[in-house]
């Protein structure tokens, strides 16, 4: 519990003058459900982008397990270091079947020439089958992914992320557009997967955060404003002013 799986030190992401992330120090602990909240433009998604390599940090360092510096690696190299990301819109491969999606996602040698001769091993079959059970897609495994319901698509993508057996899972608004029932199921899934890895989630839905968060980080203007349990966050005056306060205003306007 003590050592951080992921540590960002004085990270800056500069979009030609606009600092989406400004001197951010950020730590992710193992086996925890870690939510990131904050008003629009606070740099939450950029934080995920910079960790998974989609955006390169202008400055600062990002260390995995205290040793590996990942800020200069390419996206696919970062994946092999144990960081996997789920995007906001379900980005699954519509033309492939559910099981095919997991087949190409699962942890394996992903270099060109090992892939030409790639065959199913019994262990891989077992892992895919277990994953299909876990996310409840066993019955639809041969259907094309494009034919799934919205919630199922989200779970398929979560399953694809988990198949990579990452140490850190990054989720960007995983419950957006889900029904109440689907949200509960997703929440349970997140709790389950956090048992042996860290899960970092950007989310807007406060009820969801409250229910499932171990740690909540509040971001504001590219910096970390506050970190603690949801209760502490709700009672912190600066957070109320910057974040919740703004929300109240929005309500008044609308």
């Amino acid at each position: 519990m003590s050592q951080a799986v992921l540590k960002l030190k004085k990270v800056i992401v500069d979009f030609s003058g606009f600092k989406a992330i400004n001197q951010l120090d950020f730590t992710v602990k193992p086996n925890s459900v870690h939510f990131v909240i904050g008003p629009n433009g606070a740099g939450k998604t950029t934080l995920l982008d910079v960790v998974c390599g989609k955006t390169k940090a202008t400055n600062g360092e990002i260390k995995l397990q205290g040793t590996t510096e990942i800020s200069k690696l390419s996206e696919d190299q970062i994946v092999h270091q144990g960081i996997s990301r789920k995007f906001q819109a379900p980005s699954i491969f519509q033309n492939l079947s559910v099981i095919d999606n997991l087949e190409i996602a699962m942890k394996q040698k992903k270099k060109l020439f090992s892939m030409i001769t790639a065959k199913w091993t019994n262990e891989q079959k077992k892992k895919v089958s277990e994953m299909l059970e876990l996310v409840g897609l066993k019955e639809v495994q041969d259907q094309s992914a494009g034919s799934l319901a919205h919630g199922q698509k989200q779970w398929l993508e979560i399953a694809m992320v988990l198949m990579q057996e990452p140490d850190i899972v990054l989720l960007d608004e995983p419950i957006a557009g889900m029904s109440k029932k689907e949200r509960n199921k997703t929440g349970e899934l997140i709790t389950k997967i956090a048992k042996d890895r860290a899960v970092l989630i950007v989310e807007h839905d406060m009820d969801f955060v409250k229910e499932y968060a171990d740690i909540v980080s509040v971001m504001h203007e590219g910096q970390l404003l506050f970190e603690g349990s949801m209760e502490e966050v709700q009672n912190d005056p600066t957070v109320r002013e910057v974040y919740l306060g703004r929300k109240v205003e929005e309500h008044v306007v609308s």
């Binding site: 696919d76 994946v79 033309n95 992903k110 892939m115 694809m160």
Partner: protein, 360 residues
């Protein structure tokens, strides 16, 4: 359910084998002239398979495959030309005032070297272009434009170096291949059989490649290149590989083409043929492997048929054919079969439902 899937694969395999055997047996019932034409079409079909791997499966549109086809064809033609002159200087070189064989022609005295280079040269050029563009994440229409530029550069180069390439009239007047007369009917039949076997092999190996996990990765790159990066793949390596492979296949096709047609010139490898090649794939059906083969044979057969029957206006027919297919068959000819199959399946389901109803 599993039973029907098995049946489907089985019947597909049977149909493919039948087509293959029919093609092998074609010398028995086709005239020499028709056989030669079919051999030419099948050489095109080989290229179409390579192009389908690249465009249909990986989503990279190359409008420059004429060049790879041409490089293969020229490699073979250079050997044939040297063989025809019996070690002397080719006629066009003498005309442009050269006295000895230029350095780049020397390896082509040996047929084996020529054949290897006919595959290797297109592959190397494709690898270099592919590596530089894909690594820098140049894709989509920008890559397509670059592939067109490549055609322009190479064709200009070939036309310009009259003394090395025979200029715009290309290379022709061949005599023997491994000592066999290239104009005799038996040698031509042998070339035809070789073409059919190569087509079968290329088709079989490509099918094996795309049916496995590798093929799913290619489709993944086609449909979501960025997503593949976040699954731990490096799409540029895969794209470079497929581009190189399809260029090598195009080179192979070019060699078989020149053996059967007996001439290669810059107009046969330029921009218009390059675009036509893509049309074969589109017409037959992308991402199906068999579609492009059908497309290549059908378009070229139509071209020949129209030009024989209506020598003045045949190009309009061809244009009309393209328009009709694009408007009514967006998935190509194989798309038509799929649609037909789906409809049949639905009918099967509804009829079985009715049967159930009548029994209950």
């Amino acid at each position: 359910m599993q039973n029907t899937i098995y049946q489907k694969i089985w019947s597909q395999r049977v149909i493919l084998n039948l087509i293959f055997l029919l093609l092998l047996a074609a010398p028995l019932f086709l005239s020499d002239f028709r056989l030669n034409l079919l051999g030419k079409f099948l050489a095109f079909a080989i290229l179409a398979i390579g192009l389908d791997l690249l465009w249909g499966y990986t989503g990279v549109l190359s409008l420059g495959h004429g060049i790879f086809f041409g490089l293969g064809a020229y490699c073979m033609a250079m050997y044939l030309k040297l063989e025809a002159t019996g070690g002397g200087l080719p006629d066009f070189m003498a005309w442009s005032g050269m006295s000895e064989l230029p350095l780049i022609w020397i390896p082509f005295q040996y047929p084996i070297v020529a054949i290897i280079l006919g595959i290797l040269l297109p592959a190397i050029i494709a690898f270099m272009l592919g590596y530089l563009t894909f690594r820098n994440r140049i894709s989509g229409v920008y890559f397509t434009i670059l592939s067109q530029a490549l055609v322009l550069v190479v064709v200009t180069l070939f036309v310009g170096s009259q003394n090395l390439t025979g200029g715009s009239s290309g290379l022709t007047n061949f005599n023997t291949f491994f000592g066999f007369s290239v104009n005799s009917a038996t040698t031509q039949t042998a070339f035809y059989i070789i073409t059919v076997i190569v087509l079968g092999l290329v088709f079989f190996l490509s099918r094996k490649l795309v049916k496995g996990r590798f093929g799913k990765i290619l489709v993944g790159i086609r449909d979501g290149e960025n997503r593949m990066r976040f699954l731990g793949y490096s799409p540029s390596a895969y794209k470079t590989f497929i581009y190189t492979l399809s260029a090598a296949i195009a080179g192979l096709a070019g060699m078989l083409f020149v053996l059967q047609v007996g001439i290669i010139s810059p107009t046969m490898i330029g921009i218009i043929p390059s675009i036509e090649m893509v049309l074969w794939v589109a017409l037959g059906g992308r991402g199906t492997l068999i579609g492009p083969v059908i497309g290549a044979v059908l378009v070229n057969a139509a071209k020949t048929g129209f030009s024989e029957s209506y020598p003045d206006i045949w190009t309009y027919f061809l244009g009309l054919l393209f328009v009709l297919v694009v408007v009514f068959l967006p998935k190509g000819i194989t798309g038509l079969f799929e649609k037909w199959n789906d409809r049949r399946k639905k009918q099967d389901v509804s009829s079985s439902v009715e049967v159930e109803k009548s029994y209950s």
